[in-house]
Symmetry: C2
Subunit: 332 residues, 2 copies
């Protein structure tokens, strides 16, 4: 491990995983702190889900969203991926000296709207201010509590032949933020930032055998699927031609040197389900606006355990590894 923090450690890829596994988990280890998934499922008087995220996205505003909407939807989604009904959020602000109040006002209004739309309440918070040059406008943390409504079968239940679904087009958020950062905002590329709790609830109420849900944020679809297969006795094979990517996102990624499969999404989920339930689950997803472009993009296999492979449009195969460095720093 390098002996200082580099930007790679924030990428959501390999370095982030090593930091968490080697330094953080050993200290905090307990049954509820689970490696997979961004929320904890807590035993107790009621079964709770608990999650937190700090948001450091730059710029604060981008087509399709802003740091406030992102902070609400991100934590709502982490809870929803646990099978929980998200209910309560906290909001903690780290403001940089010199931040225009108007900026803060807009972010708060955006949080208000996003919380209302997702059906959650922001119930507690905190405000800190740091000197100019010790922050970047504002950083925003949300934590959230949800009540567990569904038990996912878990990675243990995944078996060869299972279907891998994505709820819509891939790479929109990462591309939109990168374009906003470069100042190139022409075109119609917008972040997909949205709350997925209603979609997850519909899927988990459908009766389909859903093994796992996960929102592929930092590190993108490729990194999240690697987290599924890592150390397991199965692999995942994706079919490139089935993966929905907007034409303009594909073009922008080529221009920026990005791969949409590694770009952050903020309004998409991945699901692994029994193959026989895949059509039913897809129909259920497509019935909601946030799942209208849902697609079956691959299958679980037993011939390359631990690996995610991509069958390309030309019939070749390549291995998709976890994101290695910081493809997209400060994307969320």
């Amino acid at each position: 491990m390098d002996e200082i923090i580099t930007l790679d450690y924030g990428s959501g890829g390999k370095k982030t995983a090593r930091l968490i596994e080697e330094m953080i988990l050993p200290d905090f280890d307990n049954p509820a702190l689970r490696l997979l998934g961004d929320g904890a499922v807590l035993p107790g008087e009621a079964e709770l889900a608990f999650s937190t995220d700090s948001f450091v996205v730059a710029p604060l505003f981008f087509p399709g969203g802003d740091i406030g909407k992102l902070a609400v939807c991100g934590t709502v989604n982490d809870l929803a991926m646990c099978g929980a009904e998200p209910r309560y959020l906290s909001c903690s602000l780290i403001l940089e000296e010199g931040l225009p109040l108007e900026t803060l006002r807009q972010v708060l209004a955006s949080m208000k709207k996003a919380a209302h739309d997702a059906g959650v309440q922001i119930v507690t918070g905190d405000t800190k201010v740091v000197e100019k040059g010790r922050g970047d406008g504002l950083y925003l943390n949300t934590a959230g509590i949800g009540f567990i409504r569904h038990r996912l079968e878990g990675l243990e239940a995944v078996r060869p032949g299972d279907a891998v679904l994505v709820s819509g087009t891939v790479g929109d958020h990462g591309t939109a933020v990168m374009l906003a950062r470069t100042g190139m905002m022409e075109g119609d590329i917008r972040s997909d930032c949205c709350a997925l709790n209603r979609l997850a609830e519909a899927m988990l109420s459908s009766g389909a055998a859903v093994r796992i849900l996960r929102d592929p944020t930092r590190g993108g679809v490729a990194t999240t699927l690697n987290e599924f297969t890592e150390g397991r006795g199965f692999g995942i094979e994706l079919s490139e031609r089935e993966i929905p990517v907007r034409q303009e996102v594909r073009a922008a990624c080529e221009m920026l040197g990005l791969d949409p499969l590694y770009c952050a999404n903020e309004g998409k989920l991945l699901a692994v389900c029994a193959q026989e339930d895949a059509e039913k689950l897809l129909a259920c997803m497509r019935a909601l606006p946030e799942g209208e472009n849902a697609a079956l993009i691959g299958h679980v296999t037993d011939d390359a355990p631990g690996r995610v492979t991509l069958r390309t449009g030309l019939g070749g195969r390549r291995i998709l590894q976890k994101l290695a460095g910081a493809q997209l720093p400060r994307i969320c």
Copy 2:
């Protein structure tokens, strides 16, 4: 309101209160988001307390504690002040590029110890990295969940003649951090940073009529008591000679131009209780190490509604207002 954020907005005093009241509460308003207290009490399947704090203290390490211990104890204490048993914490890191991993290792080890000592588990987390010059080593957010064990009577139950208690010496944390910042670390001044959940539990199980508990952090004892009296039909009169202040803290405050009554505490609580229960409650507090210097420091009065006044050692009286500016930036 000034149209940009200044350091005063982070002081925990008047400006912080205005920011919250004028900008944040109107957007997020809901029954659980209460003005007083740093935690929310949530209805639902089980009665929950939920709280969050971001920590930006500089320096990261100071006599008696560090940002990790502070982040665990701070959120534990906010939950305990709601009458809750703190149970689960989240941990979200914003790391600055270039941070030595050894620093992070020490902070995490400190969090581990503090969580163990307080009887809570850190169950979920997040890690972000920002570029050099966009942070200050590390910022740390904790959120926490507790289960409500006791119902406090609330400010509505406060009446003239009630006793005001403090659990120990005042001003230790703020003074220790300011001395560490100036590089003057001689003497024996240490932060009082510690978890108060066992003390609060003992007090609330004692049978005493406790109206309210609160930990006087940013803004100190004077600011917290003003939050009690603000807009109410009662005032509070403190007796200066009864307020426990370490001799070395008093001397350091004089040198630094600080007032111990406005200095942050991180291991002290204030309680308002029925006068007839005061001795019993003090005895209960003094039976625990974290309350060994507990004292009755004043009473609720009806002759100066809304005001906190200090009867000085010489017999004079002065009004203690809320902290107006940033006496101590980045103290927690």
